[in-house]
């Protein structure tokens, strides 16, 4: 550990400062006593208390969570099926085209996705609101799930499915008893990805929303245009907290599992 040269230290401080200074500022000012966002006037948690009385903000949060849960779940089902089809049925015509088309929405500008969905909803006469936002979120998060699950399936040993068939399980039972449990971690991370993407989406939601369905990012954005309040800082801090806890827990669990697996394998080979 003798490599802490000044240059290295400077790099780390600058890099992390660049990444986290804005967030740290936001968190600090969420505990500010003053109503003025940029002037520190002492520690207080009153903005957090006030959040619970801001019905509009709470409503928006509730809409966001419902949209995210529903769209992430639907997108996970559709994305997993798409991934299975693309990985397994390698011999159909135009497979390359379909693969490419699954990836395309990943790089498509959100404005275009949002606009095209809006045009579609208007054309078919669908009333815009909660359901149109959910549909739109399913559309754009599904491809992320497909990509995550597809990469897992590429390293999947298909002979375990054949073994299940060979032992008398029907294809449907094989899928639920063997395939799904084995790829479950990838499916779950696909779900988490879809959930977070839906949670913080602003552009596509704005295009596809209607009266009565305002998501949290939209609410925050519209409030900020009237000026940043410490209340906004408080709710953002809560969001950051939730996401951070999720990420930390997920990575600790994965680390521990890997370590356990390594220990088991070493033990198994040591005793032979």
């Amino acid at each position: 550990m003798g490599n802490w040269s000044r240059f290295n230290i400077a790099s780390i401080v600058l890099g992390f400062g660049f990444l986290y200074l804005p967030i740290v500022l936001l968190v600090i000012f969420s505990f500010n006593e003053s109503k003025l966002v940029t002037v520190w006037a002492g520690f207080s948690t009153k903005w957090y208390a006030q959040l619970w009385h801001n019905q509009a903000l709470l409503d928006a949060a509730w809409v966001t969570i419902r949209v995210a849960l529903l769209s992430a779940t639907c997108a996970t089902v559709l994305g997993t099926l798409a991934a299975l089809a693309l990985v397994r049925y390698t011999r159909f015509r135009g497979r390359m085209l379909f693969s490419g088309m699954v990836y395309a929405p990943l790089v498509m500008p959100e404005v275009i996705t949002g606009l095209s969905l809006l045009l579609l909803f208007v054309a078919i006469g669908l009333d815009r609101g909660f359901w149109t936002i959910t549909l739109a979120h399913i559309t754009f998060t599904m491809c992320f799930v497909a990509v995550v699950v597809q990469s897992r399936l590429l390293s999947f040993d298909q002979s375990i499915e054949e073994a299940a068939l060979d032992l008398g399980a029907t294809p449907v039972r094989t899928f639920f008893a063997i395939t799904l449990p084995v790829i479950a971690p990838a499916v779950f991370s696909g779900w988490v990805l879809a959930f977070t993407l839906s949670l913080d989406d602003l552009v596509i939601s704005s295009f596809t929303t209607g009266p009565g369905a305002t998501t949290l990012p939209m609410k925050i954005y519209s409030q900020v245009r009237l000026g940043v309040t410490p209340e906004i800082n408080a709710i953002c801090t809560i969001l950051i907290g939730v996401v951070a806890i999720g990420v930390v827990v997920a990575s600790i669990v994965t680390k521990q599992r890997e370590a356990q697996r390594d220990r088991d394998e070493r033990a198994a080979f040591a005793q032979t």
Binding site: I160, E162, D166, A169, V182, D264, A268
Partner: protein, 380 residues
């Protein structure tokens, strides 16, 4: 063990016209696009037989096994198992089970649940499943490991779990795809004999796919040597080794010396050949090819004698050369003898005594010779 040996020696249903085959492969062809994996292949496998499909990779042996399991459908032809056509029957409704090369254990299940999986699919009562699983664990000596997951086992233990799982349903036929390929040499040799004992004990029909000729020779009652989607020869290991029906089989199984020549005549069950450089060969042969036909004689290295003095029957079946290479293997010594025309003949001799007074050395002039029934006359 003596009784077992005598049972095996008398076991030859393929030679008995009254016995009915258990598996009949009839004119089966399998194409993948333009590639013909299995080419108009016919085979009969008898009940309780240990049958080996032997060939280099890509010869179609695995495709044939996968068609027996139901993972592939024949492009044309038919497979009949115990009197019933398997056409259109999916793998989960066939009374056969397979042991996979990669073992294909279910990674998220314990050893116990892996073995019980097939039984659960049949809706067997729980108590019966538990009893059967315990019996299988005992059979493969893994009682202590029932609660382990596959990644907590060594390679040999995984192989046993895979075997127990594929035997748990008491299939009529067990298909084994390179069952010992992933084991190291010593473990592999032990397991070969265990598999043979197990097959005898359970009285099942085993079909094993392997590229390892020693494995096939050790375990199988009969071997089908395959090449390019066709069966070249089906016979017992001894027949395959001592009476190969073609140069391909002679060359594929074990080491062999091929002496080429033309048929000079035949009398009383013996064929005379005019070998290259006038080397005369006289060899026992059930068939008598026409005079002048190009032919060859295959002689295994252990049937070639190396000596300083010419044998009594010289110059027939005897030729001079010099020792080019000596390989000492412990149980035997392999000599590479270089003839005057540059060809190298392999001969091996058993080291039956610990020390020889005057051993053969490098560059010595020697005579190599072989008996009149030491080799096989090949047609092609």
């Amino acid at each position: 063990m003596k009784s077992l040996g005598s049972i095996r020696r008398s076991f030859a249903p393929w030679a008995d016209p009254a016995s009915k085959p258990f598996i009949s492969v009839k004119n089966v062809t399998k194409k993948f696009g333009d590639f013909i994996a299995v080419d108009d292949l016919s085979l009969d496998i008898y009940p309780r037989e240990f049958f080996a499909l032997l060939g280099a990779s890509g010869c179609g042996k695995s495709t044939l096994l996968r068609m027996l399991a139901g993972f592939e459908q024949p492009t044309s032809g038919e497979i009949i198992l115990d009197g019933q056509s398997l056409a259109g029957i999916p793998p989960y409704r066939r009374p056969v089970n397979m042991m996979f090369q990669s073992y294909a254990l279910f990674p998220h299940m314990t050893v116990e649940n892996n073995i019980a999986f097939g039984l659960k699919q049949d809706g067997m009562p729980k108590a019966d499943i538990a009893a059967r699983v315990a019996q299988m664990l005992k059979l493969v000596k893994l009682e202590k490991f029932s609660q382990r997951k596959p990644h907590q086992l060594s390679g040999g233990q995984r192989q046993r779990v895979a075997l127990a799982r594929s035997l748990a349903k008491r299939p009529k036929v067990l298909l084994l795809d390179e069952p010992l390929g992933a084991l190291d040499k010593k473990l592999r040799e032990e397991t070969q004999f265990e598999l043979m004992d197990l097959q005898q004990e359970l009285g099942l029909t085993f079909v094993v796919v392997t590229h390892d000729q020693e494995e096939a020779m050790t375990m199988a009652d009969r071997i089908a040597v395959m090449s390019h989607g066709k069966v070249i020869q089906v016979a017992t290991p001894a027949e395959i080794y001592e009476a190969p029906n073609s140069r391909f089989v002679a060359d594929f199984i074990g080491d062999v010396n091929i002496f080429e020549g033309a048929v000079a005549g035949a009398e009383g069950g013996y064929v005379r050949l005019e070998g290259i450089n006038g080397f005369p060969i006289r060899m026992a042969s059930p068939e008598t090819p026409a005079t002048g036909v190009k032919s060859a004689v295959a002689v295994r290295p252990e049937k070639i004698r190396v000596g300083r003095q010419p044998p009594a029957h010289a110059p027939v079946n005897a030729i001079q050369g010099e020792i080019w290479d000596i390989g000492y293997l412990g149980d035997m010594t392999v000599f590479h003898v270089r003839l005057k025309d540059g060809r190298v003949i392999k001969a091996s001799s058993l080291n039956a005594v610990r020390a020889v007074e005057d051993p053969l050395g490098y560059d010595q002039e020697v005579w190599i010779s072989f008996g009149e029934d030491a080799g096989v006359v090949l047609k092609d």
